[in-house]
């Protein structure tokens, strides 16, 4: 049943900023993260990883490792059931099980430096490490390719010898590293460019960025002799972990219970499995619980960063600043397996603009790098980097203010979007106007300083969600959620339940229940949780109210239609219903046992109606013209949240997205040597911003309610990382008088641009 609602606009509790329920345990160190659980007789699991970027595994000899005292199990490809690309899939799995299975343990070939080739479980870390050194592998080293453009050449080494590009007409006869080609088309591109008075065109490149979560991947697995198993892990989606592990290991979904720990950052990177199936297998083989944790170095080498890209784009506009056409070719590498976010990224770039003529050529490419994983608005920041840079060039050519140019072309309610749907009520124009009128824009840039403006878009997702709201007899309420809390969602759910039930926020607690306690929940991702789990929480709360009304009516022995829910009480609807004292929420909760038993509301939904979120960012920075070093002076992020349930965490999302985007723009990159080995697998040389690098990031929450949610919520987590690459690039380009087309815009690269040697 779909919840019927009209979106409300006045609130009691929603929009306030109470302390988060998980805060105390996090700041005191009591919260349990992935590596914080211990089982009796627990073993330590460690992974042996390929030192080669691309190599055939001719033989694996584990006998010396197995003979080492303290080693309790060794697993290799031979211990995994064969699945094959054709295997049937159970549960809710979004990635190819065969690809993920080959990613968690290499089969015939190691496809990137860091690819897992064997694992051991031993009584101590020291023994496990020693055992890894005793595993003998016979390699046949193969030529490799890590660059997306090089990988597309016909003479490039093939990552998969048999891969034929999907989506091509005619079907290519020869295999290549292009996994898929897709074309997105709208209008008449030729006519669009013919109508243009100015055209801006450039090629752009972005290097891969890692999500940079502070907590490395970690899990504890315990498989028992009866075929059941339990898994504790740090993930954004324990249901999908269960389904993926069960598929890889040939288990029933009911035989594996997965509990998600507290999570120290995910940003999309914890939406798949790496260690989990291996730990389960080691536990099954050793008969003991096994804990596995990645080192930081392993996180960089073996878990998924986002794609590196190469984009060529062209935008045409009339003299008065109307965009007439855009065509772009986007090439994204997804690491060693298909599945880069090129398709969604491509459409996000142009989505904010009402452009009638668009052609996007999208190439999904494989290279010898770790399998790409989702990273906050997957694919969108790179496309926006290209599109928003070109728009800035057009604004300069036409001498139009960059905000005005965007206002002239902004999509609004009723505009058709390049990704398909026609927009409902959206807040892009409001964001542009808010940014334009913000006091921080009064600052006048000094010498070597400049301002960069860029917009961003993310469609937001809904999806399957299951929530239970339990009422205790003392009137407190427990909300059971199945979507791991990565951004303060427990606080938001408590606020929404408290709002519906009209009880104090402090009376509501929320937990993340394990996979055996609730129906399926899609992963926390796509900025879906506050919307979808919020919807389910509200629906479950309304069911609680229905039950309470029935209990009160039964107590008064009147029809349920003769009672109303009003300010946290059930009361007779009018004089005809009888003269009964209102029953409070607490009173009805207290008499649960006498009136029919426990009171609980459920919602099992497949949420729709996620509203798109737009943002406008303004970046003021200074470039040291002699060193190319950039200092961010001011940064403003304006974004439509629909309705900010807990404004602190909405602002936190804006600031966090900006921070990650600035890091990506300025310094973050995967650096490969000519041997295909990653040279900077650590936070020393993979430079995420430190606190002192950034000013306080100004935020403004715009609220144009989303009609797809009872309170108007839009997801906000992803859009904020979309504009920064372009906002920074536009500012740097204006400051130095040359267009920057590549990330990271590190000091050497900017100095080379200034000196004209790039």
């Amino acid at each position: 049943m779909e919840l019927e609602f009209t979106t409300r606009t006045t609130f009691d509790k929603v929009g306030t900023r109470p302390p988060r329920p998980d805060g105390t345990d996090k700041v005191t160190g009591r919260a349990l993260y992935g590596a914080d659980l211990a089982g009796a007789d627990m073993l330590v699991g460690k992974v042996l990883r390929s030192p080669h970027a691309h190599a055939r595994i001719l033989a694996i000899d584990t006998s010396r490792a197995e003979a080492l005292t303290g080693v309790k199990a060794v697993v290799t490809r031979d211990d995994f059931p064969h699945i094959g690309p054709e295997g049937t899939v159970k549960g809710e799995v979004e990635e190819s099980v065969w690809d993920v299975a080959r990613n968690v343990m290499a089969r015939d070939k190691a496809l990137y430096e860091g690819h897992a080739v064997a694992a051991v479980a031993a009584t101590s870390t020291a023994v496990a490490r020693q055992a890894l050194k005793l595993i003998d592998i016979t390699w046949q080293v193969l030529p490799h390719v890590t660059d997306v453009d090089e990988a597309m050449r016909s003479d490039a080494p093939l990552v998969h010898e048999d891969m034929i590009t999907a989506g091509m007409d005619p079907v290519p006869e020869e295999p290549s590293n292009i996994a898929e080609y897709r074309k997105v088309e709208m209008g008449d591109i030729e006519a669009g460019f013919a109508a243009a008075d100015v055209i801006a065109e450039q090629s752009f490149r972005t290097e891969a960025a890692h999500q940079g979560y502070i907590e490395p991947h970690a899990c504890v697995a315990s498989a028992s002799e009866d075929g059941l198993a339990e898994l504790w892990c740090c993930t954004q989606g324990h249901f999908s972990v269960r389904d993926m592990c069960a598929n890889i290991l040939g288990m029933d979904l009911a035989s594996l219970r997965v509990t998600s720990s507290e999570i120290g950052g995910g940003f999309g990177g914890k939406t798949t499995v790496f260690l989990e199936p291996v730990a389960l297998l080691l536990s099954r083989k050793s008969g003991r619980p096994v804990k596995m944790t990645m080192s930081r170095d392993e996180v960089f080498r073996a878990s998924g960063p986002t794609s590196s890209t190469s984009i060529t784009a062209r935008i045409g506009a009339t003299r008065d600043g109307r965009i007439t056409a855009c065509d772009a070719t986007l090439r994204y590498q997804g690491g060693a397996f298909p599945g880069s976010p090129v398709g969604i990224g491509a459409v996000c770039g142009m989505a904010p603009y009402d452009c009638p003529n668009v052609v996007l050529h999208c190439y999904d490419v494989v290279v010898n790098r770790p399998k790409a994983a989702a990273y906050r608005a997957p694919g969108a920041p790179m496309a926006a980097f290209a599109i928003e840079s070109l728009l800035d060039d057009i604004a300069r050519k036409l001498d139009i203010d960059p905000v005005e140019l965007r206002l002239k072309n902004a999509v609004k309610e009723g505009s058709s979007s390049v990704y398909g749907p026609t927009f409902g009520p959206i807040g892009f124009e409001e964001c542009l106007e808010t940014a334009r009128d913000h006091p921080s824009l009064e600052a006048v840039p000094g010498p070597n300083q400049a301002r960069g403006i860029a917009a961003g878009f993310w469609p937001n997702f809904g999806g399957q969600t299951s929530v239970t709201v339990n009422v205790n007899t003392d009137g407190t309420v427990l909300v059971s959620l199945g979507t791991p809390d990565i951004g303060g969602s427990r606080a938001s759910m408590c606020l929404m339940a408290a709002e519906e039930l009209q009880i104090p926020y402090e009376r509501v607690k929320a937990i993340i229940a394990d996979t055996s306690a609730l129906g399926h929940n899609d992963t926390t991702g796509g900025s879906r949780v506050t919307h979808s789990a919020g919807l389910a929480t509200i629906e479950a709360s309304r069911k609680v109210i229905d039950i309470m009304k029935r209990r009160a009516a039964a107590t008064w022995d009147i029809d349920v239609d003769a009672v109303v829910w009003d300010q946290g009480c059930v009361r007779p609807s009018g004089a005809n219903a009888g003269d009964h004292e209102p029953l409070t929420f607490d009173a009805i909760a207290a008499m649960a046992s006498a009136t029919g038993g426990p009171i609980a509301g459920h919602a099992e939904i497949n949420a729709e109606g996620a509203g798109a979120s737009f943002a406008v960012h303004v970046c003021d920075l200074e470039v040291d013209p002699e060193t190319g070093r950039v200092t961010i002076l001011r940064y403003l992020a304006v974004q439509d949240a629909g309705k900010a349930i807990h404004p602190d965490y909405v602002e936190g999302q804006y600031q966090g997205g900006v921070t990650q985007g600035i890091g990506w723009a300025l310094n973050e990159e995967y650096i490969y040597g000519s041997d295909g080995v990653l040279q900077n697998p650590g936070f020393l040389d993979y430079r995420i911003p430190v606190a002192s690098d950034l000013p306080m990031i100004d935020t403004v929450i715009v609220e144009v309610p989303n009609p797809g949610h009872p309170y108007g919520v839009r997801g906000v987590g992803e859009t904020p990382i979309v504009p920064p690459l372009a906002a920074v690039a536009n500012a740097v380009s204006r400051a130095i008088g040359r267009r920057m087309t590549e990330t990271p815009m590190s000091p050497p690269r900017i100095l080379a641009a200034i000196d004209g040697t790039s």
Partner: protein, 288 residues
């Protein structure tokens, strides 16, 4: 691995000398512990020098300052005398790591780790600092700081030797020093280029003594003799500073790596040398 925390210098050097396998001195541990964790070194013996009396002291000597081998950056930064005498050395030490790292990291550890990018080393060399080296037989010798770290990860210390202290000499009137480094971030990073300048002015503002030292542009910190020559006898006017920039760039012997290219490091070496000289001369002027 054996961990020892001796109470005398003689015990410490004795233990180091008698160890058959790899032995390592532990000061703040901000390099050593990272190396241990990552399996980069697997020493048989670790000798912690922090329990040796006097190791964490800063004492006045001959108009200068003797800084013990276990003095952490934070303590140096709070020492008024050293801050007044050698602000460039102090700012170099304070650039190391973060607040947490500063509570542990020492100048001597920075020197003996022998990284070509070590921040405090160019500043110490420009200051004419001496390292006091203690040997197993109770001997002590003083050597210029520049002679201790002789290549990436390599020191001139003989087995059984350790650095007991650093001596920062008396500063003549109207002297100043400065250290600048280029990192892409604002902290928690390794110098792409570092430049230290120490100089003395006469009453007319004319430079009578100067040392220019570059970091991270060669296998060890590099003394730029021509750089000193470019500013000696000048008032550090624009022309002299431009000359310094030129010769410092020319003197740099950088490599291409993940932190920077050869042309980039070369150019920035000159820029930082010029800027450091400017700051040093301003500081010297303020002390007249």
């Amino acid at each position: 691995m054996r961990y020892e925390a001796p109470r005398t210098l003689a015990d410490a050097t004795g233990m180091l000398a008698s160890c058959q396998g790899t032995a390592r001195v532990l000061a703040g541990g901000t390099d050593l512990l990272v190396a241990l964790r990552s399996g980069l070194v697997e020493p048989e013996l670790v000798v912690d020098i922090k329990r040796i009396p006097g190791m964490a002291d800063i004492v006045a000597e001959d108009g200068g300052w003797r800084v013990g081998a276990a003095v952490p950056g934070a303590a140096l930064g709070h020492h008024d005398g050293v801050c007044r005498a050698w602000p460039g050395v102090v700012e170099a030490v304070e650039l190391i790591g973060s607040t947490q790292i500063q509570g542990r990291a020492t100048m001597v550890g920075n020197l003996c780790n022998a990284s070509p990018a070590a921040d405090s080393v160019p500043a110490m060399m420009a200051a004419g600092a001496l390292a006091r080296i203690a040997g197993p037989d109770g001997t002590e010798r003083d050597v210029p700081v520049g002679d201790v770290a002789i290549g990436p990860g390599v020191t001139s210390l003989a087995p059984g030797e350790l650095v007991a202290s650093i001596f920062l000499p008396e500063t003549p009137a109207r002297s100043g020093d400065a250290y600048l480094r280029l990192i892409p971030r604002t902290e928690m990073d390794i110098a792409v280029v570092g430049a230290a300048v120490s100089l003395t002015l006469d009453e007319g503002g004319c430079c009578t003594a100067a040392k220019v030292v570059l970091g991270a542009v060669g296998p060890r910190a590099l003394v730029v003799e021509d750089g000193a020559a470019a500013i000696l006898g000048t008032t550090l006017d624009d022309e002299a500073l431009a000359a310094l920039e030129r010769v410092a760039s020319a003197a740099a012997r950088p490599i291409d790596d993940k932190r920077g290219t050869v042309p980039y490091r070369r150019k920035v070496a000159g820029v930082l040398a010029r800027r450091a000289a400017h700051i040093a001369s301003r500081r010297a002027g303020e002390k007249s």
